[in-house]
């Protein structure tokens, strides 16, 4: 007779690495990765926009949109190393938003800028 019988639930393999917890969360809640990326994007976007507006009186929305998009893309790229963290649609949307932000930035400039 076993002294200790484990509970009948699927526990995480804690010795396999921290990414197992993230993969498990992303598998249970499919909106986890998109919400994480939206959080990163909004934090950089709103934080930078409001801070620049307070310091200078006006803010450069296309510039902060591009900075937030590139920052979000740099967070999304390492997520592609592990199966289950991010899907192709989310990655594609991140790339497209980055490209669109850059197009907006280049169209918003006056002469002798950027």
């Amino acid at each position: 007779m076993a002294i200790y019988s484990p509970p009948l639930i699927d526990t995480l393999n804690a010795s396999a690495g921290l990414d197992n917890a993230l993969v498990s969360i992303a598998g249970s809640v499919p909106a986890f990765t998109p919400m994480l990326l939206i959080f990163v994007w909004l934090t950089i976007m709103i934080g930078g926009y409001i801070k620049e507006k307070r310091r200078l009186g006006g803010a450069d929305m296309p510039m902060w949109c591009t900075i937030a998009s590139v920052g979000t893309m740099l967070v999304a790229l390492p997520l592609t190393l592990t199966v289950g963290l991010i899907d192709l649609t989310t990655l594609s949307i991140v790339i497209v938003v980055t490209v669109m932000s850059g197009v907006w930035l280049f169209f918003s400039r006056n002469r002798n800028e950027v």
């Binding site: 893309m73 790229l77 997520l79 592609t80 190393l81 592990t82 199966v83 289950g84 991010i86 899907d87 192709l88 649609t89 990655l91 594609s92 949307i93 790339i95 497209v96 980055t98 490209v99 669109m100 850059g102 197009v103 280049f106 169209f107 400039r109 002469r111 002798n112 950027v114």
Partner: protein, 144 residues
Amino acid sequence: MGQIQLIGSFFMIAIFAIAIISYTSNFADENDVAIDIADDIRVTDSILESEIDSVRLQTNSSGQAFSDSTIESGDETSTTGGVFKALSGTFTSVGKILTMGKNVIFGDEQGISGPGIALTALGTFMATLIILYTWKTWAGKSPD
């Protein structure tokens, strides 16, 4: 907006978009990732290598035509829009990249079905701006 700013803006847009997409694709290649942007058929459709070649060849031919051109005494130097024809491949690249973005976000249904009408309207507005800026630069007048 002068000719240099206009052509430079389109060139930078094309280079920026190609660089971002190429960066993610090369990141996937070199790190053997599980999710690869190059697996998306809408991204690989004549965006990366062919567009880079297109921009490079258009730039080379444009530079060659520019160095071969001569200005005679008393010539009008800006009576044609030839400078826009020289880098027209850049316009094509920008259009393909915008279409790819619309297809990725809203799907590639024909017509204006679904929320794709938002990006269609945005693209139409940008095309209107492009035409107005081109005419203003060429004719030297304000389209306002």
